[in-house]
């Protein structure tokens, strides 16, 4: 059984009698212990996808449709209190900005303990011992001291480790991390990513890593899902996708990234701007910026097709090939 099976996930918001659908038709699966990278630019809906799986979208008034099967249970059918038992226990979440994700008025140790007590039903002492163990595992120097400190007294890297401790302390089956290292410096980013990889492999936790940084994905993930303007455009094995990207967007995106030793003048750009949810174009949403656009791309949205080798892509270029072949 898959760990997570997301089918036709869509979220819509209604404001002033206008409805916008920032994400729609998102389907993918994750196996236990797998590391899936979800990549996309601003407005691609990658964070919203994570929030929807965590059941956090209703907080901001979003209506979720489709199905999110976790461990065989459709999370969308759970009641609010049932969902509370899943959140933080079986699925944990690392939010975008570690600098501001801890409650400023409580000691960081108590914030780890809070989740442990709630889900593992531990007493204060056992929870504290476990929290200190976790901090040790996360290579937090002098855990006893840090336990007593407040968030503003810690550096960004340390805060992020505390947030990770909160996330993995309850031994979840799935960890969703939303841009976990974007706010950190490169050298600290490398430390944190290495920790991430070690811990999830060690404990067999499935990791969904959401980022705009293709470099991070290339180094850490097994599978990749590429989002553009609220749609999943390509999904596949990490090496396959990076070696031979199928979707014109994925290909163009990879060409936009400078690397050390790149030849001058060879940096390609994708002209135009990422559309926002209020003005998504009709048909394939990448069509206005695509170099290979065909007439029907601007008429209707291409279905996701599965190619040989398990890669999936939503592009008319491939529907024709598969039909022909």
């Amino acid at each position: 059984m898959s760990l997570l099976k997301v089918s036709n996930l869509a979220v819509e918001f209604t404001a002033d009698k206008k409805t916008v659908k920032p994400i729609s038709d998102i389907s993918f699966t994750m196996e236990p212990g797998e590391v899936l990278g979800v990549v996309g630019e601003t407005g691609s809906g990658k964070s919203l996808t994570a929030h929807a799986i965590m059941g956090l979208t209703p907080l901001v008034g979003g209506k979720v449709s489709g199905s999110i099967e976790f461990d065989g249970v459709n999370l969308l059918t759970l009641s609010a209190s049932e969902m509370q038992k899943v959140r933080g226990a079986q699925i944990s979440f690392i939010p975008q900005n570690p600098m501001t994700s801890l409650d400023p008025v409580y000691r960081v140790g108590d914030q780890i303990v809070e989740g442990l007590r709630k889900h593992l039903k531990l007493n204060r002492w056992k929870a504290k011992t476990l929290a200190l163990e976790l901090m040790e595992q996360l290579r937090i120097p002098n855990p006893k001291r840090v336990f007593e400190q407040y968030p503003h007294q810690l550096s960004g890297g340390l805060k992020q480790r505390i947030v990770i401790a909160i996330g993995i302390g309850t031994n979840p089956k799935l960890l969703i991390a939303d841009e976990p290292t974007t706010a950190l410096d490169v050298t600290v980013q490398a430390q944190i990513m290495r920790l991430f990889k070690e811990l999830t492999t060690e404990k067999g936790i499935g990791l969904m890593l959401i980022t705009h940084d293709l470099g991070v994905i290339a180094q850490v993930c097994d599978k990749i899902a590429v989002l553009y303007a609220g749609n999943l455009v390509e999904y596949g094995d990490i090496r396959e996708v990076f070696k031979k990207p199928k979707h014109p967007y994925t290909k163009a995106l990879l060409d936009c990234i400078p690397y050390i030793g790149m030849e001058k003048g060879s940096l390609a750009a994708i002209e135009g701007n990422v559309p926002t949810a209020t003005n998504f174009p009709i048909g394939c949403r990448f069509a206005p910026r695509c170099g290979l656009v065909m007439p029907k791309c601007t008429e209707s949205f291409p279905d996701m097709v599965e190619l040989a080798g398990g890669a999936r892509v939503a592009c008319y270029k491939y529907t024709e090939e598969t039909v022909a072949g």
């Binding site: 965590m54 956090l56 959140r87 979440f93 939010p95 975008q96 400023p104 809070e114 407040y150 007294q153």
Partner: protein, 308 residues
């Protein structure tokens, strides 16, 4: 922390001097003097000079201030020109009444305000929210004296639950304190609501939900606890505004107190009384603000660190 408290306490001394200088000079700007009202018609220039010398009003202003200050510090606040009794006695007779009224009003402001603020923030954009906010808005828009009069009409005249005026027992204190406290409650409720709603949008609240905590725990243990900081700040800053209503309320309920004493003295141009009661009221407000500031810097770990 204690060093900080001590430093802040010492800072009250220059504030006291600044305030006393300002009040002293302002009062001497008031035209007309009480001597005229003491002197009957047909009195001579000599009588006047004698009286002026008696109250020390013939000396240059800075000298008068220094004399006054010396006396004030030793507990002698001078003689009331009209009442002919020591100002200190008048102050210490009236002060407890104002203190009781002030403290009970503040308690009402704080607890009622916080209660209204929390329920309206928790039930944002529902019927409960609207009702709570209308109560809060009325508290801020209605002047205390009018509310006092309406409360008398409703609860004393029609229902006969509370006495109309006077100051003897606790039941005398209820209506005045409600009249003053409702304004403060409105203020506190509005600040609590806004600051809680602001907290709901903070990143850390998202993580709390993601941890699987229940909404009630998040609201009370985290969102409210954080929202309390700005509430305390505003409360300290607006203490004077909340207690300002007490002056007119003492008149409405014919209660003794510094406010009504000040007002009577102001009409009769009784300088020493006006001066002393203004200084007492202002210092009370400043000390109150000082206490809230200490509470604030203790309650917020971030501020606590700055003053370590």
């Amino acid at each position: 922390m204690w060093v900080y408290v001590l430093r802040r306490t010492l800072l009250l001394i220059p504030i006291f001097f600044a305030i006393s200088v300002v009040i002293f000079s302002l009062i001497h700007l008031v035209p007309g003097d009480p001597i005229d009202s003491l002197l009957g018609p047909g009195s001579s220039k000599g009588d006047r000079a004698e009286l002026l010398a008696l109250y020390g009003l013939d000396k240059p202003l800075p000298m008068q201030y220094l004399y006054w200050l010396k006396d004030f510090i030793t507990g002698d606040m001078g003689q009331s020109i009209i009442e002919k009794q020591p100002v200190a006695d008048m102050i210490f007779y009236n002060l407890p009444f104002t203190m009781r009224l002030g403290l009970l009003s503040l308690a009402i402001s704080f607890f009622l305000g916080i209660f209204l603020g929390i329920i309206s923030a928790a039930a944002k954009n529902t019927f409960v929210d609207y009702i709570a906010m209308i109560i809060a808005l009325l508290g801020v828009t209605v002047p205390a004296f009018w509310l006092g009069l309406i409360l008398i009409l409703a609860f004393s005249v029609n229902l006969g639950w509370f006495p109309v005026s006077g100051s003897g027992s606790f039941s005398h204190l209820v209506l005045p304190a409600v009249a003053v406290g409702l304004g403060g409650a409105g203020l506190v409720a509005r600040v609590t609501r806004v600051s809680m709603l602001e907290m709901f949008n903070k990143d850390f609240v998202l993580l709390l939900y993601a941890k699987g905590l229940s909404r009630n725990v998040i609201i009370v243990k985290h969102v409210f606890r954080n929202a309390l900081m700005p509430v305390i700040t505003i409360l300290g800053l607006r203490l004077g505004w909340i207690l300002g209503g007490a002056v007119s309320i003492e008149i409405v309920f014919s209660r003794p107190g510094i406010g009504s004493m000040l007002l009577t003295a102001l009409f009769r141009r009784d300088y020493p009384v006006v001066q002393a009661s203004l200084i007492f009221l202002t210092m009370a407000v400043i000390i109150g603000a000082f206490i809230t500031d200490i509470i604030y810097s203790y309650a917020d770990p971030r501020v606590r660190d700055v003053y370590k």
